[in-house]
C-alpha cells in the first residue's frame, strides 16, 4: 500500500507528537529509521535516502502486485454483470459526485488535489474495481468519451483494440502523472512523461494490435494520445502547467513586465526590415501576434506548437523579401519583434510546458519544433536583452529602460490597433456579405417555393381537369340513374305531352316533317326527339308509296288494329332498335339510341342490326322492373300487329322505365286497352297501347334468342306475367 504524502505528512505529525514532550531531538531521532548510520529525513518518512528508496520500491512492487490482482476483474461474469447493471445508476451518480469533487479539488492547491486523488484511489479503487473495469472510471468520463468520439473521427480505419489501448495508456498516464506530480520535481516529471511517450511508442511497435498501423498513423496516434492526456492534465492547476514547484508564474509576470518595459524597442533596433506603413506588413504582423496570443489558449503542447508554427509562418512572410526567401537571420529578429509587440500571456509557462511535456521527438524535429526553438531563442534574447545586443549606447539604453512604457512603441501599437480595427471591419464585412448571400439564397428559395406552389397548383388543377375530362364517361351513367329515376317520374307527363303531340300530329298530315314536333314532344331530352323523327321519316319514305294514307291511318288506327303490313318488319326493326336503347338503363345514352336508330332505320338490315341489339337487351334484363314490359310484350304479341309503326310507340317505350308509373299506366292501359279497343279514336289511350305492343312485338322475335342466352330473361317474365295475364283478360 502506498499512501504517498498522506503517510508522509501523518508521519511528520506523529514524530512531532511523540517527541513534543521532550522538546529535544536526539541524534537517534535524526538517524535513519532503519537503523543504518545515515541521517534520516522526515521527507523520506524518517529513512535515509537509500533506505527510503528501497522502501519505496518495495511499496511500489506491492502496489503493482495489488494492481495486478485487482485490475483484472475476478472471473464471475454473470454475477458481475447483474451487479453492474444494478449498481449502474447509483454508480454513475457516484462518479458524477467524484467528478464534482475533482472539480472542486482543482481549485485547491496541489497537495489537496493529491490527497483527493489518493483518497479516491484508496476508497474507490477497492469498491469500484470489482464493479467496473479498471481503466476508465476514475478520470472524468468526458475524457474517456471525448477520446472515444475523437478516435472514431480521426482514425475510423483503426480497430477498437487500438482505441482501447490508447485509452488505457491515457488513463494510466494521467493517473501516473497525477500521482507523481506531488512527489517529483518538474524535471523528473517531465522525464517520466517522456518515458511514457516512449513506452507507448514501443508498445505500438510491439503490440500486435498495431501491426497494421503504418508509421505515419502511429505518429498521429502518438499525438492523439498526448493530446488527450495533456489536455486533461493541463486543466489541473499546478500539475503540468506552471507547476507549483517552479517559479513559472513569477517568470511569466517578470517576462510580461520586461516586454512592457521594452516596448520602445523598434524594428530598427533589431535590424529587421519591417515597414510600418505597409498594410500587408501590418496585417501579417497582426496575424502573427494573434496566433502567438492564441498559444496560451491551446490545451496541449501540439496545439501550442501549431500556433507557434502559424505565427512563425506569418513572420516569415513578413520578412521575406520579394524574390528571396526568408532566412533564419531574418526570422529571429522579426520574431523577437513580434513577441515584443504581442506580449503573450503566460509566455514562460507556456514555453516551459511545451519543453517539458511535449513529445521530445516532435520538439527536436519537425517544423513546429524548429519554430518553437526560435521562439525560445526570442524569449531568451528578450530576457537577456542589453545595450550591446541592440548595438546601442549603454546610457541610451538605460534611458529608454527608465522611461515609462509605451514610448516609441505607441506608433506600432497604433498601427496594430488600426490593423485590428480594419481586420474587425473586414471580418464584419465578410460576415455581412455572408449574411447577404444567405438572405439572397433564402429569397431565391422563397421564390422557388412560390413558383413551385403555383406550378403545383396548376398541375393539380390540370390533373383535376384531366380527371374530370376522363371521368365523365364513367360518371354520366351514374348521373343517368337518377335521371332515369326522374325520367320515370316524369315519364307520365311526357307521355301525355306526347300523346297531345300525337294528337296534334295525327290531325296534321303525315307529310309534315316531324322536326317542329320534336321539341314539343320531349323538351326534357333533346336527343330523343332526334331519334324519333328519323324513323318516322324513314317510315314515311318507305311507306310513302305503299300507303301514305295508311300511315296516317296507322297512326290513328294503330291502337285499334295491328295491321300485317309489309311495314311490320320495319316496325319491328325499329322497335327493336328502340327497345334495345330504351329499356337498357345503363346503356341508355341518347347518342347510342340515335346512332342505333340511324343505323337501323335507313337501311333495312334488320337481321344484322338485331345482333347488337341483343347485347343491349341484356342490359335491359338487368333491370327487371323496366324490362317487365318485355314480358308484357311477350304476352302482347297479339297487339303487335296493331302498332306497326308510330313513333309514338317509341315514346311509349319509355314507360317501362318507370315501373311504378308504368304499372299505374298498365293498369290504366289495361283499362285503356279495353277502352282503346272500344274507342280507337281516343289516341291518348291508344298510344300507350301501341307502345306496349311495340315492345312486345320486337322482343318476341328477338327475345326468343335472347332468352336462351340470358338467364335474367327467364326471371323477367315471371313478375310481369300476371300483368300480361291481366291484359288478355
Amino acid at each position: 500500500m502506498w499512501y504517498g504524502p498522506n503517510l508522509q505528512r501523518s508521519y511528520k505529525y506523529m514524530m512531532f507528537a511523540s517527541k513534543m514532550p521532550s522538546l529535544r531531538i536526539d541524534q537517534s531521532d535524526l538517524k535513519c529509521k532503519n537503523g543504518c548510520d545515515y541521517y534520516g529525513n522526515p521527507q523520506w518518512q524518517g529513512y535515509c535516502s537509500k533506505c527510503h528508496r528501497e522502501q519505496m520500491q518495495r511499496q511500489r512492487k506491492a502496489a503493482a502486485g495489488k494492481a495486478v490482482k485487482t485490475s483484472p476483474p475476478p472471473p464471475k461474469p454473470e454475477q458481475k454483470k447483474q451487479e453492474r447493471s444494478l449498481k449502474l445508476t447509483s454508480h454513475s451518480s457516484f462518479s458524477k459526485f467524484e467528478e464534482k469533487r475533482l472539480r472542486q479539488s482543482e481549485t485547491l492547491k496541489k497537495a489537496n488535489l493529491l490527497k483527493f486523488s489518493v483518497f479516491r484511489k484508496s476508497n474507490t479503487d477497492e469498491q469500484d474495481h470489482s464493479e467496473r473495469r479498471p481503466p476508465e472510471f476514475k478520470i472524468p468520463a468526458m475524457v474517456n468519451e471525448g477520446m472515444k468520439t475523437d478516435f472514431r473521427v480521426r482514425f475510423p480505419q483503426l480497430t477498437t483494440q487500438v482505441d482501447r489501448d490508447a485509452r488505457m495508456f491515457v488513463y494510466s498516464f494521467i493517473m501516473d502523472v497525477i500521482k507523481c506530480a506531488n512527489v517529483m520535481t518538474v524535471d523528473e516529471l517531465s522525464e517520466r512523461v517522456q518515458r511514457h511517450y516512449q513506452r507507448f511508442m514501443k508498445h505500438m511497435e510491439v503490440s500486435p494490435h498495431f501491426a497494421q498501423v503504418d508509421s505515419d498513423t502511429r505518429e498521429l496516434l502518438m499525438d492523439f494520445v498526448e493530446k488527450h492526456a495533456m489536455t486533461y492534465l493541463h486543466e489541473l492547476p499546478s500539475v503540468v502547467f506552471s507547476p507549483s514547484g517552479t517559479d513559472d508564474e513569477r517568470a511569466d509576470r517578470a517576462m510580461s513586465e520586461r516586454i512592457q518595459q521594452l516596448s520602445w524597442v523598434g524594428e530598427k533596433h533589431l535590424e529587421c526590415k519591417l515597414d510600418r506603413n505597409s498594410a500587408t506588413c501590418r496585417q501579417l504582423l497582426y496575424k502573427a501576434i494573434s496566433e502567438l496570443l492564441g498559444m496560451d489558449s491551446a490545451w496541449w503542447a501540439g496545439g501550442k506548437l501549431g500556433r507557434v508554427r502559424r505565427c512563425c509562418r506569418h513572420v516569415l512572410a513578413l520578412c521575406a523579401a520579394p524574390g528571396a526567401p526568408a532566412s533564419a537571420d531574418d526570422l529571429l529578429p522579426a520574431l523577437i519583434f513580434t513577441v515584443l509587440k504581442a506580449n503573450p500571456p503566460r509566455l514562460v509557462s507556456n514555453i516551459n510546458f511545451v519543453t517539458r511535456f511535449c513529445n521530445a521527438q516532435r520538439l527536436m524535429t519537425g517544423e513546429g519544433g524548429y519554430y518553437f526553438t526560435n521562439l525560445c531563442c526570442a524569449v531568451s534574447f528578450i530576457e537577456n536583452l542589453s545595450a550591446e545586443s541592440l548595438n546601442m549606447d549603454k546610457k541610451e539604453f538605460d534611458c529608454y529602460m527608465a522611461m515609462p512604457a509605451s514610448i516609441g512603441g505607441s506608433a506600432w501599437a497604433a498601427a496594430l490597433s488600426l490593423c485590428g480595427a480594419t481586420r474587425e471591419a473586414e471580418e464584419q464585412q465578410a460576415m455581412a456579405e455572408k449574411i447577404l448571400a444567405q438572405t439572397q439564397d433564402i429569397e431565391r428559395r422563397a421564390e422557388q417555393l412560390a413558383t413551385n406552389a403555383v406550378t403545383f397548383e396548376e398541375q393539380i388543377a390540370k390533373k383535376v381537369q384531366d380527371v374530370l375530362a376522363k371521368t365523365p364517361l364513367e360518371i354520366k351513367p351514374r348521373r343517368e340513374l337518377p335521371r332515369i329515376g326522374k325520367f320515370k317520374e316524369i315519364s307520365t307527363a311526357p307521355l301525355i305531352d306526347l300523346e297531345n303531340g300525337h294528337q296534334q300530329q295525327t290531325y296534321q298530315p303525315a307529310s309534315i316533317s316531324p322536326q317542329p314536333y320534336q321539341p314539343a314532344s320531349i323538351p326534357q331530352e333533346p336527343y330523343e326527339p332526334a331519334t324519333q323523327p328519323e324513323p318516322r321519316v324513314v317510315v314515311e319514305e318507305t311507306t310513302e308509296k305503299l300507303n301514305i294514307l295508311g300511315f296516317e291511318v296507322i297512326e290513328k288506327e294503330s291502337p285499334s288494329k295491328s295491321p300485317p303490313n309489309p311495314d311490320q318488319n320495319w316496325d319491328l326493326k325499329q322497335t327493336n332498335s328502340m327497345e334495345l336503347l330504351t329499356p337498357s338503363p345503363l346503356g341508355f345514352t341518347p347518342f347510342d339510341s340515335r346512332s342505333m336508330d340511324e343505323l337501323m332505320t335507313p337501311d333495312e338490315f334488320g337481321s344484322d342490326n338485331l345482333a347488337p341489339g341483343l347485347s343491349n337487351i341484356n342490359y335491359d334484363i338487368d333491370l327487371s322492373d323496366f324490362s317487365g314490359e318485355n314480358s308484357i310484350a311477350d304476352d302482347a304479341p297479339k297487339f303487335d300487329p296493331k302498332d306497326p309503326f308510330s313513333p309514338e310507340a317509341l315514346k311509349k317505350e319509355f314507360d317501362p322505365f318507370a315501373p311504378q308509373t308504368s304499372r299505374e299506366q298498365y293498369k290504366m292501359l289495361e283499362t285503356y286497352d279495353e277502352f282503346s279497343l272500344v274507342d280507337p279514336k281516343t289516341h291518348v289511350q291508344s298510344d300507350p297501347f301501341e307502345v306496349i305492343h311495340r315492345t312486345e312485338g320486337s322482343p318476341t322475335k328477338e327475345n326468343a334468342s335472347i332468352l336462351d342466352d340470358s338467364p335474367t330473361s327467364v326471371c323477367l317474365p315471371s313478375p310481369l306475367q300476371p300483368q300480361s295475364s291481366g291484359k288478355p283478360a
Binding site: W44, C48, S49, K50, H52, R53, M56, Q57, R60, K179, C180, V183, M184, T185, E188, E191, R192, Q194, R195, Q198, M201, M204, D214, S215, D216, R218, E219, E271, R313, L316, A317, A320, P325, A326, S327, A328, D329, L331, L332, P333, A360, Q361, M364, T365, G366, E367, G369, Y370, Y371, T373, N374, C376, C377, S380, F381, N384, E388, S389, L390, N391
Partner: protein, 209 residues
Amino acid sequence: MTTAPGGTNNFKVVLLGEGCVGKTSLLLRYIEDKFNDKHLTTLQATFLNKRLNIKGKRINLSIWDTAGQEKFHALGPIYYRNSNGAILVYDITDEDSFGKVKNWVKELKKMLGSDIVLIIAGNKVDLEHERTVPLEEAESYANMVGAKHYYTSAKLNQGVEELFLDLTREMLEKYEQNSQTEVNRTSQVLVVDDETPVQSSCCSGTKSN
C-alpha cells in the same frame, strides 16, 4: 536522435556559422535541388525536413538554420540542443568566420561531447582567388577536432549534396555504434531517461543525498 515509430531515424542538424558566410544559401541550394521539379516557392530557407534512404534505412533529416548575427550567438545552445549533427560554415574569404567556427567547435565539444557529428564547410569556393583561410590550416584543424572538412559553393552548387549525404551517413554510423555499444543509448536525453527509471518515482532522494 530519436527513432520514430516505424523505424524511421530522425536526425537533427544545425547550421552554425557567422552571419553572411552562406548558411542560408547552402540550405536554400539543398532545398531547391530537392524541390526543383516541383516548382515549390520557397517562402523560407530556415528549416528543411528531408527524407533520405541510406543503406535501406529511412532517415528523416531536419536541418535547422540559425541566426548568425553576433548578438544571437548566445542563443546557440537553444538551437543545437539535441542535435545529431552540426555543419559549421565559414567563408574561405573571411578569416574571422573561420575563427568563429573554432569557437563553435569548442562550444559544441564542451556541450555535446562526441555525440554530435561535426562537419566544417568552407563555403564560397567560387571565390578561390580571394581565399584568406589557407586550405591546409582548415583541413588540419578539422582533422584535429575529428570533423570532416568540405569545400562547397552554394552559388555553383558544388559539394552541397555530398556534404549533406556524408553527414547523414556519419550520423547513421554513429547512431548504430551507439545503439550497439550501449543498448538503448540513443542520445544524451535518452540516456538520462534510461537511467531515471531506476531512481524513478522515489523522488528527489538520490540527488539531495
